[in-house]
Structure formats: structure tokens, C-alpha cells
């Protein structure tokens, strides 16, 4: 395998993104290349994957992610996704991808109207995706921090049926034992949804921050599984010489 080649990530940078450097750092820790791409850029350059990072793009004016989705760089991201490129949205990045229509549903105000900044447990609901293949499969939930005020996932009933039928729900909030319970739901998300993928499984988003969970000094390394899944998926794509424009 040509695993010696390093994967190149583009990390988008909007006004008031604040996890862009965290993403760059996390990916470098994992041995990948990461470069920042300014929101006014119309091209992503030569990259293998895109991460839309957390923050408060445009001060969350109107709705979270509503303005960022119209940035010039998002057109490049849409084209990249249409061509099968891997795109991950984290926190505000998840909100932006939903607003852009690259993922179904929307993220609204937390049920208790409070900002939640804490460690949560996540059950991985589908391991057969480029975002989850390397996540531990021993039944132990992963522990990753959240930091959001608008993380309550909503989609209408037909959309939820589709998400379930096609196994597009990737992560659900759960308790320490892995049980998906109402008490373990920090924000009121339907079906305890913490993260989903699109129908093609090349675009995913989640409210928790894998980028803040790759080094033991920060309390958990469980974010590695998610980012390493992307890296492995890219390596096998490159190995089978499938070019992603």
C-alpha cells in the first residue's frame, strides 16, 4: 500500500471560526498535512479532504451557519462533495453543512436554552463509513467534548425514517455504558443524534469535537478514531488510484 504518502486536508476559515487551528494541530498530530483555506477563496487547491471547523462564523447572525454557507469557498466545497470528496463538519461546521443542504436537517437551540461545554459519550451507530471505520468496536462508547448552544438536531419524520433506513446516523449521545437514553441527551436532539452522513457517505457532520480529543493531555484521545477513519479511507482511495477532483 502507498501509505507513505501524506493526506492533505483543507481546513476552512470563516470570520469567527475558532477551532480552525485545533483542526490543523489535530491532523498534524495524526501525521497528515493540513492547510487553512480562507472563506473568500474560490478554490480548495490540491487537497484530499475538507474539514469545516467549529466556531461562530459571522457571529451566528440570523442562524448558525446561515451566512457562511454563501461564502465563495462553499461553492468549491459543494463541487468537491459532488465529486465524491470527503467533507467533515464539526460543530459550527455541521451547522454550515446543514444550512448548505449538503446534509439533511437543521440544528436548533439546545432544549434547556443553555450552552453546553462538557465531555459526552457517543455510541457509533454505523462502522461501515469513511468517518467511523477506525472507531473502537468493542461496545465501549467514545468520549468527546461538546461546546455549543445550538446543537439540537431536528429533521422531519420522513427524513428521520430515511436516515435510519439508510444507516446515515453515525453517532448518538449515550451514557457511559453505551445506552442511548434521554438523560444522556445534552441538547434535545431527535433520536439522540450527535452526527450524521449524507446518502453517499462522503459528507458527515457532528456536534462533538474530535479535533479536541486526539491527545491524552486533553482528557481523551477518542477523537482519533474518527479522524483516522478519514485518513485510512483516503489512503485506500489513493491506493486504488481513484482520483478525486
Amino acid at each position: 500500500m502507498t501509505t507513505a504518502s501524506v493526506m492533505r486536508f483543507a481546513i476552512l476559515q470563516f470570520p469567527a471560526s475558532n477551532c480552525d487551528q485545533d483542526c490543523v494541530h489535530a491532523l498534524r498530530v495524526l501525521g497528515s498535512q493540513a492547510k487553512l483555506v480562507w472563506h473568500k477563496d474560490t478554490s480548495l487547491g490540491e487537497v484530499d479532504a475538507v474539514i469545516v471547523p467549529g466556531g461562530f462564523s459571522y457571529g451566528d447572525a440570523l442562524r448558525c451557519g446561515a451566512i457562511a454557507r454563501f461564502s465563495p469557498v462553499m461553492q468549491a466545497v459543494s463541487r468537491f462533495a459532488d465529486n465524491g470528496g470527503l467533507v467533515l463538519g464539526i460543530c459550527n461546521g455541521f451547522q454550515i453543512l446543514c444550512e448548505a443542504g449538503l446534509l439533511p436537517g437543521a440544528l436548533i437551540r439546545n432544549r434547556d436554552l443553555r450552552f453546553h461545554c462538557e465531555q459526552v459519550f457517543l455510541k457509533t451507530a454505523n462502522f461501515e463509513t469513511p468517518f467511523t471505520s477506525e472507531v473502537r468496536r468493542d461496545g465501549v462508547p467514545i468520549r468527546i467534548p461538546i461546546a455549543h448552544g445550538e446543537g439540537c438536531y431536528f429533521a422531519d419524520a420522513p427524513t428521520l425514517d430515511r436516515l435510519q433506513a439508510q444507516r446515515q446516523i453515525l453517532w448518538q449521545y449515550c451514557d457511559a455504558s453505551g445506552a442511548v437514553t434521554e438523560a444522556a441527551n445534552p441538547n434535545g436532539s431527535v433520536l439522540n443524534i450527535a452526527g450524521i452522513a449524507n446518502e453517499r457517505f462522503n459528507v458527515a457532520g457532528l456536534m462533538p469535537h474530535p479535533d479536541r480529543a486526539v491527545e491524552g493531555i486533553l482528557g481523551t484521545e477518542d477523537g482519533r478514531g474518527i479522524l483516522n477513519s478519514m485518513i485510512l479511507a483516503l489512503e485506500s482511495r489513493r491506493a486504488s488510484a481513484v482520483a478525486v477532483a
Binding site: 439540537c152 422531519d156 434535545g188
Partner: protein, 81 residues
């Protein structure tokens, strides 16, 4: 000339703000309140002489694409002199 846009959360969408306000009204003794939805109001100034029909058409589009999110919100648009 102005456009007035009233945006409200869809019925199926959880509206914790509305619920909190409804509870507060009840505690304050305002009887007969059976539900509260908290939304947004957007007022847009339009150049004098703008055609109301054109403004309605353009802002309807803007409301669907950007000013509201049809996944979670309904809106009502009104053009006034």
C-alpha cells in the same frame, strides 16, 4: 417602502424559548394562554418606487434561500408602503 418578514418555528419543531415564555405568562397570572412560539421579525427598507410585485417575488426567494430555513421555520412576507 418596506418589507416585513415574520419568521416562526414550525409546529413540529421544539421551541424551548416559546415554552419558557408560556410558563412565565402562566406564573404571572395571564390565563387562557395555550401556546407561545418565539420567532423573528425582519424589516427590510426598499428604495422608493420599487414595484411591490417584484419586491415580493425577490424577497420570497430570499426568504426561502436565506432569511428563513424551511426545514425548521415558516415565514410570512408583507410589502407595505
Amino acid at each position: 417602502m418596506k418589507a416585513k418578514l415574520v419568521i416562526t418555528p414550525k409546529k413540529a419543531v421544539l421551541d424551548p424559548q416559546g415554552k419558557t415564555v408560556a410558563n412565565a405568562l402562566e406564573h404571572m397570572g395571564y390565563a387562557g394562554v395555550t401556546g407561545v412560539r418565539v420567532g423573528k421579525y425582519i424589516e427590510i427598507d426598499l428604495a422608493p418606487g420599487t414595484s411591490a410585485t417584484d419586491a415580493h417575488k425577490a424577497l420570497n426567494e430570499a426568504a426561502l434561500r436565506f432569511l428563513s430555513n424551511p426545514v425548521i421555520e415558516d415565514y410570512r412576507l408583507e410589502i407595505v408602503e
